[in-house]
Amino acid sequence: MSETDENGSEELITTEVQPKNKSARKDVTGTVVDVEELDVWYGDEKALDDVTMGIDENRVTALIGPSGCGKSTFLRCINRMNDQIEVCRVEGGVRFKGKNVYDDDVDPVALRRRIGMVFQKPNPFPKSIRDNVAYGLRVQGRADYTDIEARCEEALREAALWDEVSDQLGSSGLDLSGGQQQRLCIARAIAPDPEVVLMDEPTSALDPVAESKIEDLIDKLAESYTVVIVTHNMQQAARISDKTAVFLTGGELVEYDDTQKIFENPDDDRVEDYITGKFG
């Protein structure tokens, strides 16, 4: 690879990426999720290979990598959504606030009540907008929110959807546009005030305008929540995340560092190749 090529591609990245200000973030108080030597198999196929990483509190952590590299699998280990796949086997530790979530005495339902999740395709329930947002609070029987209606409004405001739906809270969540549905799903995920919000490619099914709205929203969410986001879109990772983890085929975590470092001066050549589009 020639010198000019390298400079050219580096410039391509740095010019295209306009990072969010990320200024309003609180100081890092420590890690909230610690993954230790995590191996995951689907049947005989290894999806994650000896992954160890800590996720900072009140930060946006991006997981990037080519299709099938295990980044979604990693995300689903954190709130044990992989439990629903029969052939999935997990070894190693995922500590949430120090407690290994794969310990026998951990109730996955209780775990998911503290870790919200947003999926790739918007999946609102066939219920009213109000009932969608209130869903988590209702099923969790939360005594700390006596005024569910008020909390729903708050969550919808946090999800930047309130102004668009405040006069139609009774209509079905399925009647909204794709981007609105996804923000509704975000409101649903944050209404019970979780500590961590997991996002599995939340903008890949949306048009660019809706995508940009969601990115702004994620930037804001990081003021109050720890966000872990899987994305196919490297510019997105560069724009919104504080730290980036790069997974490559075989479920290997190749490099995990500050986003700026990953995109400007990665240690691993494979990461550089992947980011500059030469691989993956």
Binding site: R112, F119, N123, F125, K127, V139
Partner: protein
């Protein structure tokens, strides 16, 4: 005109080729096939209406008396009322038994049961069960419930026979309705901290309910027109009393069957009137099923 243009004209000509003729013949066969069904239905309706007309105007059957008098051997005193009440009771009891057994089984198979060989074998055999002749269910209930449990040929026994007959149909249609609820919605509910039971109760069942109701209503419509299982459990019973759940009983189809077998022509004409009433009930139920499907169906936009 250039050579190219004239060539194009021949290509685009509406020719009468062999394939064209075959296509038109095929269309004609398909149209004829559809008209055969429609013609048969029209013929049936015409026959039923003509018979009802003759019952009213030739034999002087008063429609009000017909609908309010109970079953009787005396042709002048015989009416359809007790049969209608019998059928309504059957419908109520059958829907309660069949709905809970059918939907419960479907929810277990689709939401809880492990996806193994036994589950698949069970599900495959549900379709076979739905194809068992109805008279077999009648014989089963006659042996096990009427004589075996010794409750006698009462309405409840008839309801059990009809419920057994339609449970497989309800299970199959409920499974279809549950499968139509996308998995992403179940995952969304689980991720929101709902237990499996909360997910099924709050999200899956409400979304599947229009489909389940449609299937159940159509299955009930089938049960209400069934004759053979009722004859097997002894519903060919003529009494001047209107039946309750624990009485000997007759229902609309068995009453029609009894009348049609009588020598008096007036009874046969009244059977036609009875068929008309039964058809009105059946068509109403079909209409209700279509309405429920149209009105409450959930579009997930997948």
């Amino acid at each position: 005109m250039t050579v190219e243009e004239s060539e194009n004209e021949t290509i685009l000509d509406r020719g009468v080729s062999y394939e064209d003729v075959r296509g038109r013949l095929f269309l004609a066969v398909c149209v004829a096939a559809s008209f055969f069904g429609i013609a048969m239905l029209a013929l049936l309706l015409w026959d039923v209406i003509a018979t009802t007309y003759s019952a009213i105007f030739e034999f002087g059957v008063n429609p009000r008396d017909f609908l309010t008098q109970t079953s009787s051997r005396n042709v002048e005193k015989a009416g359809f009322y007790s049969a209608i009440v019998g059928s309504l009771w059957l419908m109520v009891i059958v829907s309660v038994i069949a709905f809970f057994v059918g939907v419960g089984t479907a929810v277990y198979l689709e939401e809880y049961a492990p996806d193994n060989r036994w589950t698949r074998l069970f599900e495959a055999n549900l379709a076979n069960l739905a194809g068992v002749p109805s008279v077999v269910y009648g014989l089963l209930v006659l042996g096990v419930v009427v004589n075996g449990a010794g409750i006698g040929p009462i309405l409840l026994a008839g309801a059990v026979a009809l419920a057994l007959l339609i449970v497989p149909i309800i299970i199959v249609s409920s499974i279809e309705a549950l499968r139509a609820v996308p998995d992403s919605v179940r995952q969304g509910s689980a991720a929101a901290g709902a237990t499996k039971w909360q997910t099924i109760r709050n999200v899956v069942l409400p979304a599947a309910m229009p489909g389940i109701m449609t299937g159940t209503i159509l299955a009930l419509a089938r049960a209400i027109g069934e004759t053979a299982p009722l004859i097997m459990v002894g519903a060919l019973f003529i009494t001047t009393r209107t039946p309750g759940p624990f009485d000997r009983f007759g229902a609309m189809p068995t009453e029609i069957y009894t009348w049609a077998a009588q020598p008096e022509r007036q009874f046969i004409a009244m059977a036609g009137f009875g068929i008309l009433v039964l058809l009105v009930v059946l068509f109403s139920m079909q209409g209700l099923a279509v309405y429920v499907r149209r009105r409450y169906e959930v579009e997930f936009g997948e």
